[in-house]
């Protein structure tokens, strides 16, 4: 009677072949000698099925597609099933690296597709999502979420875009051919914060916010204003009664839009933060100011362009410009070292530099900048001629040695016999022409 070995399954380390009864490892050669080629081939096929679907395949006679449950895949999963998913998503229009790693990009593509086809948006590939993926056709409505869905729903031919739009989409990697075939470029799958400065500027001009870009939600230029207003209204609602009630006037750059612009323009220098801002009408300003200082205070001191209380900037919408929020938000990004230098005795250098950056940012995004500090602008432009606009930006955002270098550059540009004290004494007291005349 042959001895029967009842072998209990034991855990083993991956990559360590299980030992056979004779102490030799089970290699394919060994199995082939024991069972023959056909048996080994069948085993390999079964193993591939297991790998593909994550479950034991049904008997050969059963229709595989009907009986085998597709694997549930989610972020963090790896392996050939994920690679297969990525390949399929790419066929539908995604721009994923087919590396078998279910990362945030793959999840974003999955959620976009789920959203478009109306299955539960979870980012996890379940049976319903598999069905949607396998039945969708490239470029179809079901697939459009993988690229820039809203734009493709109302798809405009390349030639129908404005020149600026074509330039912006080109900056993001599109061309006429990929536009026509709806094949997104690599930039489409990058997070907003890792886009280049030029790509960010293009994306914002096209109407994206950092959030909408990362969520792969298209906001076309035509409805960008409404989209920002919607986001700001949502932010205000979330903030509750503390938030201002005023509706932003047409063309006004609100906080979220301002942050997008600054992100696109200066995100490479510093992380742009969103300071608290409330935009108030003149009567709301008066009510709030009088609430702090007593009735009649605002009538004596105002109209004010704004004030700050407990970290909140209150801005008077009736005496501000379209880019005021950009300007005030820029102040909040300035490095402490820069503030110490630029506000040493007056605020003229700080205001001039901030206004030059405001102009740089808003004009790059299609707005006409306002000029509130013409004299200060001239002063800082003259200082920049001794140093550079680029060095001024570094100094303002990064502080430290960049401030030291900027000041040294300007000091080196003083005419013979002129000292920094003389130069500063002029501009501190508003004698801008005399200050500028101190420079070479």
């Amino acid at each position: 009677m042959p001895r029967v070995h009842s072998e209990q399954p034991r855990a083993r380390k991956p990559g360590h072949p299980r030992q056979a009864q004779d102490g030799k490892p089970h290699t394919l050669d060994h199995l082939q000698r024991l069972a023959g080629n056909a048996a080994v081939t069948a085993l390999i096929e079964e193993r591939l099925k297991v790998q593909r679907w994550g479950a034991i395949a049904p008997p050969v006679a059963a229709p595989a597609a009907a009986a085998v449950a597709p694997p549930t895949l989610k972020q963090g999963d790896t392996g050939p099933e994920v690679e297969s998913l990525q390949k399929k998503l790419n066929e539908l229009g995604a721009a994923l690296t087919e590396d078998g790693n279910f990362g945030w990009r793959t999840k974003a593509a999955v959620t976009s597709l789920q959203s478009d086809v109306g299955v539960k948006v979870s980012g996890t590939v379940d049976a319903d999502t598999w069905t949607a993926i396998t039945t969708a056709k490239a470029g179809s409505l079901a697939a459009v979420g993988l690229g820039r869905q809203e734009r493709w729903k109302t798809w405009i031919p390349w030639a129908g875009l404005s020149r600026q739009q074509r330039q912006d989409w080109t900056a993001l990697g599109w061309n006429a051919a990929t536009w026509r075939s709806k094949t997104p470029p690599t930039a489409s799958s990058k997070r907003f914060r890792v886009l280049t400065d030029a790509e960010r500027a293009a994306a914002v001009r096209l109407g994206y916010t950092p959030a909408s870009w990362d969520a792969r939600r298209d906001v076309t230029a035509a409805n960008a204003a409404a989209a920002y207003a919607e986001e700001e209204a949502r932010a205000k609602k979330k903030a509750g009664k503390k938030a201002g009630k005023s509706v932003l006037p047409a063309g006004w750059i609100g906080s979220l839009h301002a942050r997008s612009i600054l992100d696109s323009q200066f995100g490479g220098y510093t992380k742009i933060t969103l300071p608290k801002m409330e935009v108030l009408t003149a009567s709301e300003m008066a009510k709030k100011y009088d609430g702090f200082y007593g009735a009649g205070s605002y009538a004596t001191d105002g109209p004010l362009e704004g004030f700050n209380k407990d970290g909140v900037n209150y801005l008077n919408i009736e005496s501000q410009s379209v880019d005021t929020e950009v300007h005030e938000m820029l102040h909040a990004q300035a490095h402490a070292d820069w503030k110490a230098f630029a506000k040493e005795n007056s605020t003229h250098v700080n205001e001039g530099a901030t206004e030059l950056l405001t102009h740089d940012a808003v004009s790059a995004h299609g707005f006409t900048p306002s000029t509130s500090y013409a004299d200060q602008d001239s002063l800082v432009e003259a200082m920049n001629r001794q140093s550079s606009f680029e060095q001024m930006k570094k100094a303002l955002f990064k502080g430290g040695a960049d401030v030291t270098k900027y000041k040294a550059d300007v000091a080196a540009g003083l005419k013979t016999g002129k000292t920094w004290a003389v130069f500063q004494g002029h501009y501190d007291h508003g004698r801008f022409a005399a200050a500028i005349a101190c420079l070479k």
Binding site: Y289, F292, D301, P303, K309, N313, S319
Partner: protein
């Protein structure tokens, strides 16, 4: 007073307010002194009349006057009320 002279006057008052608010922030001077000077400066600021100026000039100088007035109020409120945007940012 000519527009240039008035602008220079407003700029000077604005600069004085800035010095007071800086001193208040750093605590470099006795608060009682700052309060007294802020009250005096407030009177001077309230005496400035911009009504004869062009709209552009009036708007530009009103901004500077408003900043200075808010900063004086802030010192006189012992730091309890709002301050100017430039002082806070």
């Amino acid at each position: 007073m000519t527009e240039d002279a008035l602008a220079a006057r407003v700029m000077d008052l604005n600069q004085r307010a800035w010095r007071l608010i800086q001193a208040d922030r750093t605590g470099s001077r006795p608060h009682a002194d700052l309060r007294r000077e802020a009250a005096e400066l407030q009177d001077e600021l309230n005496a400035v009349d911009l009504s004869e100026l062009s709209e552009d000039a009036r708007r530009r100088l009103q901004k500077l006057l408003g900043e200075a007035k808010t900063e004086c109020r802030y010192i006189l409120s012992d730091g309890k009320g709002p301050t100017s945007l430039r002082a806070a940012n």
